[in-house]
C-alpha cells in the first residue's frame, strides 16, 4: 500500500503528526507497536512546568528559546508552538475542553497529594487549582487501591473520606470498572448521597479522575447536583482515564478523516536507498506487510515505547539506526545519586536533527532526506525535569509534519 505520509509511533507526537497531515487531506498511515503512553502518564498538557506560576507561558517560552538554542522548542519557534497547541485544542471543543488558568502554569493536586505545575488542564480539573486549606473534601472509594484519599488529603491539609458502596463489595476494583460505573445514573445517585452525608462545611469535592470516559462533563454535573458542591478530578495512578479520553478522541477523528490506523504491530524493517527511505515492513507473524510513502515521520518515543533501546554497552535507535550521541560508557549514563538536581545524562540522549527536524549526524550532515523526527525521542530536552512532555510531543509532532509536507 502506498501513502503520502507514514507515521511510526502512536503516542501523542505521532497522533499529532497524523492529525496535521490528515487535516491537509493527505493519505496517512499511522502504525504503532502499542498504544503509546497517553493512557499512562498524560492527564493534562505540560508545556514548561518548571517555571513559576506567576509568569505568562508565552514569556517563559520566549526566554527558554533564547537560553536553549538546541531545544526542540527553539526549532519550532514561539509562533508555531502556539499554532501547534491551538491545533491540539481544536480537537477538544466544549464541553470537554482544555484551558489554562490566566495563560500561566497552574498547580493541580495529584494522587500523591502533591501540587504539580502544568499548563492546559481539562475543564474537570479546574476547580482543583484554587484549593484553599480545609476547603475541599477528598473522596476515595473502598476497594479502589489506586487512590488513597486520606494520604492525599493529609498533604493538602484537607479532610479525606473513603466511601464504601454495596456495588463495590467484590475485592479489587480497577480504574476502568469505576470509570464505567460513574456513567450509570443509579451509581452516581448512590455515591452522590454517600458523599453528601460526609460533608462537613466543605464546598468542594476532590475525586479521583474517573468521571467516565465518554461524557465526563455530564457525570460531573450530575454528581454536583446531587452533592450540592463543586467536584474536580485528581489524577490517579495509571491507567489514566483523562489520557484515554485524549487517545480516543484522536482515534475517532483520524479514522473519520480516513487515516489508516494500524495498532499492535511493530515496524520490523525499513528499506533505504541512498538517503531515502523507500518503504517499511510491519511484522505480524507469520505475515509481513510492506507499506511505502513519499515521506516518513519517526515518533516512536523513548525507552518505554521502544523508540530507543539499550544494551549493556550502548543506546541505539532500532528502526532507522540513527546515531545516538551518548556518554562513552554506561558509567556515564547516570549521576551518582538517583535524586539529583541535574538530570541523568541518559535522559538527554536522543536523535539530533536540523531545524526542520530531519535527522543529522554530529557534524550536521543530513542522514535521510524524507524522514522527519518528532516527540520525546529527540535530543536536547529533558522533559521530566522541564515538565514539558506533552508540549514537546504536540509541537514537534505538528511542526515536523508541516515541514515534511512543504
Amino acid at each position: 500500500m502506498r501513502y503520502d505520509l507514514i507515521i511510526i509511533g502512536m503516542g501523542l507526537s505521532g497522533l499529532m503528526a497524523a492529525k496535521t497531515a490528515a487535516g491537509e487531506g493527505k493519505k496517512v498511515l499511522i502504525v504503532g507497536k502499542g498504544m503509546g503512553a497517553l493512557c499512562l502518564l498524560s492527564n493534562t498538557i505540560d508545556v514548561l512546568g518548571q517555571f513559576p506560576k506567576i509568569i505568562r507561558m508565552r514569556d517563559n517560552l520566549f526566554q527558554w528559546i533564547k537560553d536553549h538554542p538546541q531545544h526542540p522548542y527553539s526549532k519550532v519557534g514561539l509562533e508555531k508552538i502556539e499554532e501547534a497547541l491551538n491545533s491540539f485544542l481544536s480537537l477538544f471543543p466544549p464541553p470537554y475542553s482544555f484551558q489554562t488558568v490566566d495563560h500561566m502554569n497552574c498547580l493541580i493536586p495529584t494522587g500523591a497529594g502533591t501540587l504539580r505545575p502544568t499548563y492546559f488542564i481539562p475543564i474537570t480539573m479546574v476547580e482543583g487549582t484554587s484549593l484553599n486549606e480545609g476547603k475541599a473534601l477528598i473522596v476515595g472509594l473502598k476497594g479502589f487501591k489506586d487512590f488513597y484519599a486520606h494520604y492525599v488529603a493529609d498533604q493538602l491539609k484537607c479532610r479525606g473520606v473513603n466511601v464504601s458502596l454495596s456495588d463495590l463489595l467484590h475485592g479489587e476494583i480497577t480504574t476502568t470498572y469505576l470509570g464505567r460505573l460513574m456513567e450509570k445514573n443509579s451509581f452516581i445517585k448512590n455515591i452522590g448521597r454517600e458523599i453528601k452525608k460526609q460533608l462537613n462545611g466543605e464546598n468542594l469535592i476532590g475525586f479521583p479522575a474517573l468521571l467516565g470516559v465518554h461524557d465526563p462533563i455530564q457525570v460531573k454535573n450530575n454528581l454536583e447536583e446531587i452533592i450540592g458542591a463543586k467536584v474536580f478530578e485528581i489524577p490517579t495512578l495509571p491507567p489514566s482515564i483523562p489520557g484515554m479520553r485524549i487517545f480516543n478522541r484522536f482515534k475517532e477523528w483520524l479514522i473519520q478523516k480516513g487515516v489508516t490506523f494500524l495498532l499492535g504491530y511493530p515496524v520490523s524493517k525499513v528499506t533505504l536507498k541512498g538517503k531515502k527511505c523507500e518503504g517499511i515492513e510491519v511484522s505480524h507473524p507469520p505475515v509481513t506487510t510492506s507499506y511505502s510513502a513519499d515521506r516518513y515521520i519517526l515518533a516512536s518515543g523513548r525507552f518505554m515505547g521502544g523508540g530507543l533501546e539499550g544494551t549493556a554497552e550502548k543506546i541505539f535507535e532500532p528502526i532507522f539506526h540513527l546515531p545516538i550521541p551518548q556518554p562513552q560508557s554506561r558509567g556515564g549514563w547516570f549521576e551518582k545519586k538517583f535524586f539529583t538536581v541535574s538530570p541523568h545524562r541518559i535522559h538527554r540522549v536522543g536523535i539530533l536533527t536540523n531545524n526542520a527536524f530531519q535527522p543529522i549526524d554530529e557534524r550536521g550532515g543530513l542522514i535521510l532526506e524524507n524522514v522527519w523526527v518528532a516527540g520525546s525521542i529527540l535530543a536536547h530536552h529533558h522533559f521530566i525535569d522541564e515538565k514539558s512532555r506533552e508540549g514537546i510531543e504536540i509541537t514537534t509532532g505538528y511542526w515536523a509534519t508541516k515541514k515534511a509536507m512543504e
Binding site: 500500500m1 502506498r2 498511515l29 507497536k33 502499542g34 498504544m35 503509546g36 503512553a37 493512557c39 499512562l40 476497594g143 463495590l168 467484590h170 475485592g171 479489587e172 476494583i173 480497577t174 480504574t175 476502568t176 470498572y177 470509570g179 464505567r180 465518554h214 495512578l237 495509571p238 491507567p239 489514566s240 489520557g243 484515554m244 480516543n248 475517532e252 479514522i255 473519520q256 480516513g258 489508516t260 490506523f261 494500524l262 495498532l263 499492535g264 504491530y265 511493530p266 520490523s268 510491519v282 511484522s283 505480524h284 507473524p285 507469520p286 505475515v287 506487510t289 518505554m304 515505547g305 521502544g306
Partner: protein, 402 residues
C-alpha cells in the same frame, strides 16, 4: 521484546505499565476478572506445569486480543490466558454444553435440512428453558437459525464465470446460517472479473481454541491446511469473509498450533475487503456503484483489529455514493464467539454489549455493518436493528448493470 519472535510465554517482558488495563472489556464490566496484567503475565509467573490451576477466573477472558494490541512491550497476554485456560479446563473438565457449542459444524448439514423444524424449536420457550437448565445455554439468547439451502449447495448450482481464479474460505456460519454473506462475496468477486472456487474445507476450529480445546482445533487445522495449500499451489489466492475464521487460519494455526505449512498458507490468505483494497490500489477495482441512500454505522470486530490491516471495509464502503457511514466508537461486542451463549457468562457479555449499544444509540443509524458473525448476532440481539456483513451492501451497490 519483539512481537516478531513471540515465545510461548514471555511473561517477563511485562513492565507492568498497565496500558492493557485501559482496554480490557471484561475487567471494565466486572471485578470478578482482574484484568490482563494480572491474569496474563503476573499470574503466569506463578503457574507451573505440574501444579493445579489456581485461577478460576481465567475462563472469563473473552479472547479479544485488545490487550495484545496495545502492549508496547510485546507481551502476548491473550495467549498466556488461553494456555492457562486450557490447563484449567483440562483439570476441571468441560461441560457437554461446550462440546455442543464448539462442534456445531458436525450437524450444520442436518440443521439446514431440517431447518424449518429446528428453527421453530430454537424459538420455543420450553426448549430454551430446557437448554438453560440442562445445558446452561442462556435462554435470553436467540439461537441462530439454519437456512434450508446451504451456501455450498447454492454455489454448486450456479454457473461459473470469470478469470483468474480466486478461492473462498466461507466458514460454517456462512454455509448454514448466513448464506447471503457467501452469495454476496461470490457476486462481488465475480463483478470484479474473478472466478470463485471453493476448496474443500471444514470449521476453522476457532470456537474450540477459544474454549481451550487445542486438540480439537488442531484436528480442524490439519484438515484445512493441506487443502488450502493445494489451492495455493494451483496458483490461486484465498479470501475469507469471516474475520474470525481468517484470523484463526492466518495467525493462530502457525504460531499457537504449530501446524506445518500454515505459514505458507498465511502469505496467500486475505480478508475479502483487504483483497478489494489491493485491487483499488492497483486501479482495478470495479467501482460502478449505484447510489445507496442509507445511514449506516460500521463496527470493527476484535479479530479484524487483530488482523492488523486497518479497516479496509470502511475504506471501500466510503466509495459508494450516498452511503453515509460512521464508525462506532466501541471496542469488543462482548459476544466472544461461544462466550455469550453460556449462562454463567451471559451477564458479562451483555454488560460489554451495553457499552456498544450506547455507542450505536449516539449515532442513530438505520443499519449496522460488521465483518464478524459473532458481532452480528450480538448487535442484532442488543439493538433489534438490521445487521449485515459489509460485503452485502457492497454487492447491493454493484447491482446496477444487470
Amino acid at each position: 521484546m519483539n512481537k516478531k519472535t513471540w515465545p510461548k510465554s514471555n511473561a517477563d517482558a511485562c513492565i507492568r505499565c498497565t496500558t492493557c488495563m485501559a482496554v480490557c472489556p471484561v475487567s471494565r464490566v466486572t471485578p470478578k476478572f482482574p484484568g490482563p496484567k494480572q491474569a496474563g503475565p503476573a499470574a503466569a509467573r506463578f503457574r507451573r506445569p505440574g501444579e493445579p490451576s489456581a485461577d478460576d477466573w481465567i475462563d472469563l477472558c473473552i479472547g479479544c486480543h485488545l490487550c495484545d494490541m496495545v502492549c508496547s512491550s510485546g507481551v502476548n497476554v491473550s495467549e498466556l490466558n488461553l494456555i492457562a485456560k486450557a490447563k484449567y479446563l483440562d483439570e476441571k473438565g468441560r461441560p457437554f454444553r461446550d462440546w455442543l457449542l464448539t462442534h456445531s459444524y458436525l450437524w450444520g448439514q442436518l440443521g439446514s435440512f431440517f431447518s424449518p423444524l429446528i428453527n421453530l424449536l430454537f424459538k420455543n420457550p420450553v426448549i430454551k428453558w430446557m437448554g438453560e437448565v440442562i445445558l446452561k445455554i442462556d435462554r435470553r439468547r436467540e439461537l441462530p437459525g439454519y437456512e434450508f439451502l446451504t451456501f455450498r449447495q447454492w454455489f454448486n448450482r450456479k454457473p461459473t464465470k470469470g478469470n483468474p481464479k480466486i478461492a473462498y474460505f466461507y466458514g460454517c456460519y456462512t454455509n448454514t446460517n448466513e448464506v447471503d454473506v457467501g452469495k454476496a462475496t461470490v457476486q462481488v468477486l465475480e463483478a470484479n472479473g474473478f472466478e470463485v472456487t471453493l476448496p474443500p474445507q471444514r470449521c476453522c476450529g476457532i470456537a474450540m481454541l477459544g474454549n481451550g480445546d487445542f486438540k480439537g482445533a488442531k484436528k480442524m487445522a490439519r484438515y484445512n491446511i493441506p487443502s488450502l495449500l493445494n489451492t495455493i499451489h494451483s496458483g490461486s489466492k484465498i479470501v475469507f469473509s469471516s474475520t474470525s475464521c481468517g484470523h484463526m487460519i492466518k495467525h493462530q494455526y502457525s504460531h499457537l498450533l504449530s501446524i506445518p505449512s500454515a505459514e505458507e498458507v498465511a502469505q496467500h490468505l486475505f480478508d475479502v475487503f483487504e483483497f478489494l483494497r489491493n485491487l483499488k490500489e492497483s486501479n482495478s477495482l470495479n467501482t460502478h456503484f449505484k447510489e445507496l441512500s442509507l445511514k449506516a454505522a460500521y463496527f470493527t470486530p476484535c479479530h479484524l483489529r487483530a488482523l492488523g490491516m486497518g479497516i479496509p471495509a470502511l475504506e471501500i464502503l466510503r466509495l459508494i455514493p450516498g452511503l453515509q457511514i460512521d464508525q462506532i466508537e466501541a471496542d469488543c461486542c462482548g459476544m466472544g464467539g461461544t462466550f455469550g451463549f453460556k449462562k454463567e457468562k451471559y451477564e458479562i457479555s451483555e454488560e460489554i454489549g451495553k457499552d456498544l449499544k450506547e455507542a450505536i444509540d449516539r449515532l442513530n443509524p438505520e443499519m449496522i455493518l460488521t465483518d464478524c458473525e459473532g458481532c452480528r448476532i450480538q448487535i442484532r440481539h442488543l439493538t433489534g436493528l438490521k445487521v449485515l456483513h459489509p460485503i452485502q451492501i457492497l454487492r447491493d451497490a454493484l447491482q446496477n448493470d444487470g
